[in-house]
Amino acid sequence: MRSATLRFVLPPVALGLVALVAWELLVILGDIQPYLLPAPTAILTQLGLVLPVLWTSFLATGANALIGLIAGALLAISMALLASRLSFIDELLTPVVAAIAVVPIVALAPVLTTMYGATSETPRRVIVAIVVFVPVFINTLRGLRQVLPVHRDLMRAYAASNWQISRTVTIPGALPYVFTGLNIASSLAVISAIVAEYFGGLQNGLGSRITSAAANSAYPRAWAYVFGAIILGVVFYAATLAIEKAVSRRAA
């Protein structure tokens, strides 16, 4: 068990450390000024300084990402259930989803902010929900369609009701696919919550902090917040993995 963990954790950590050292050396030896690329040590120093603000921004952005993720995922799963039942809904949703998949956040954010108001957190959450919707919907629908013919026959032989079929066969069978979608969605949720902050709303999140620092050429500070964003992404990704492990019955 421990050696397996080691095998999965060690290489990426090692690579990360090597990359950090290379980065530091590049900055020092290449005499690169901080306004271009700050050194990891400078970022670390800033990280210490901004930690309290980083924490509150982390929470604000994290809350938006989380709420949007949950809302978008719930919507996607219920729509997928509907689409798996009614082929008309499915055919109607397919082009809409294809379109949603390519709407740039930067185009949508200003419009949504105007629609909901600049002091509301809702537009950011709506953006996260929209971005999350696509992978969750597509994967869930694929999962719901994976019902083995033999299981279908079995349930028919048992004269099971539609609801019984969903509960005992379709939904449990689709779970791994739902989680594939959620894994993708988790890091998308974070990055879209951050980008959504560039264009309006309260200045309380990581996105605002990053832009503000970057515009002031305070790149070590900006990267300290970027680091926060990466951590937030890791937290979300790890959380969906953990939930998947807990929900799917056995630990591999």
């Binding site: 901004v50 200003p110 108001g117 509301s120 264009f199 309006g200 200045q203 515009a215 050429s217 305070a218």
Partner: protein, 357 residues
């Protein structure tokens, strides 16, 4: 691109290539540069100028320090911040003598001074444009982190009009015009200036210097040719702004022709407002006023944003600005009989159309 090839200016049509990095898209904020280009003033000075437009994340002063432009237009506080982060640049021409930043609110909101912002939703752009506001709030005895709610403002003024924010940040030449280009649903006509009150940071004493021409400090020190180019460049630019002062309508059309998506009436308004920030210029256009510079540095060192950080922590280096080149340019232009102070400047009356069309 840098101008590495040692090529003499003027002469047999061998023009010196020069790249100018702007801080935003083509608009009349940069009227003088576009006018100079259009009127051939740069060529007259032996320069082949390419104007590079900005973007949300383009920081002109670092592009300049990075030697990817020969000159850049940037606000002074933002440039000071970059200098502290290692960017070697020098302010060689302070085109805007005044700050154009306002805090606009509806007349009935009762926000007439910075002190009135207490407890309000206050819009600001971030992007480093917020320090005059913070300094003003601080000056009024308020704490920007707790006494006001700061709201990220978009590129439009919808948040103010919808009532989401009580006071919006606005440039006299841009966002303020945007509200005046909008139909007031109560009257069915465009909003009128009387519908709003504005806080002008020039009056509050926290104004900071804005659009300036920046040059690469290192090259300025060692490269004689670059020094000459700088003077030539300043001369052409000044002539451009003089043209914009004297022919605002034509200038607005030049800017629209440069690819602005905003319409003629908006650009005419903008030209006119920018003229007000430039003219009159009693010391001569572009000369850096030491008091204004000191006020900018002082605010930059003391005003805290909502993270508690200031623009800069130490005084800027000696070479952060110099009047050496602008004075050379002014001297030559005065000799040519050009009015470089605009003492008699009178703004025109501009009628805005709906949507700035």
């Amino acid at each position: 691109t840098t101008d590495e090839t040692p090529e003499a200016g003027g002469g047999d049509g061998g023009l010196t290539p020069v790249t100018l990095q702007l801080q935003w898209f083509a608009q009349a904020q940069f009227s003088g540069y576009y006018a100079a280009l259009d009127q051939g003033y740069f060529e007259d000075e032996g320069l082949d100028v390419e104007i590079v437009e900005g973007g949300v994340d383009i920081v002109p002063q670092t592009v300049l320090a990075d030697q990817q432009a020969d000159f850049a237009i940037a606000w002074v506080p933002k440039a000071l911040a970059s200098i502290e982060q290692g960017a070697g640049i020098t302010d060689i021409g302070q085109i805007f003598q005044r700050s154009g930043t306002l805090q606009v609110s509806f007349a009935d909101a009762g926000i007439d001074t910075a002190a009135d912002l207490e407890g309000k939703n206050v819009g600001n752009w971030g992007f480093g444009n917020e320090f005059e506001l913070f300094a003003g709030i601080t000056e009024a005895g308020l704490d920007p982190t707790t006494d006001v709610t700061l709201v990220q403002q978009q590129f439009d003024m919808a948040a103010l009009l919808a009532g989401d924010i009580d006071a919006a940040q606005a440039m006299t030449y841009n966002e303020y015009a945007q509200v005046l280009e909008t139909i007031n649903p109560d009257t069915g006509e465009l909003y009128q200036p009387e519908d709003f009150t504005v806080i002008d940071w020039n009056d509050e004493g926290t104004a900071m210097l804005q659009d300036a021409i920046w040059a690469n400090a290192e090259r300025l020190e060692s490269d004689e040719e670059y020094q000459e180019t700088a003077v030539a460049f300043l001369k052409a630019v000044i002539k451009g702004f003089v043209y914009a002062r004297d022919f605002p309508e034509e200038t607005a059309e030049i800017v629209v022709g440069a690819g602005s998506q905003l319409g003629s009436s908006h650009q005419l308004w903008q030209t006119n407002e920018v003229n007000k920030l430039v003219w009159p210029s009693p010391d001569g256009i572009g000369v850096i006023n030491e008091d204004a510079w000191e006020q900018t540095v002082s605010v930059a060192k003391t005003a805290k944003n909502l993270e508690g950080s200031t623009v800069i922590t130490t005084d800027p280096p000696e070479n952060a600005y110099t009047n050496e080149y602008i004075e050379l340019a002014l001297a030559e232009l005065t000799e040519e009989g050009i009015d470089v102070t605009g003492e008699s400047f009178e703004p025109i009356e501009v009628t805005l159309n709906e949507g700035g069309k």
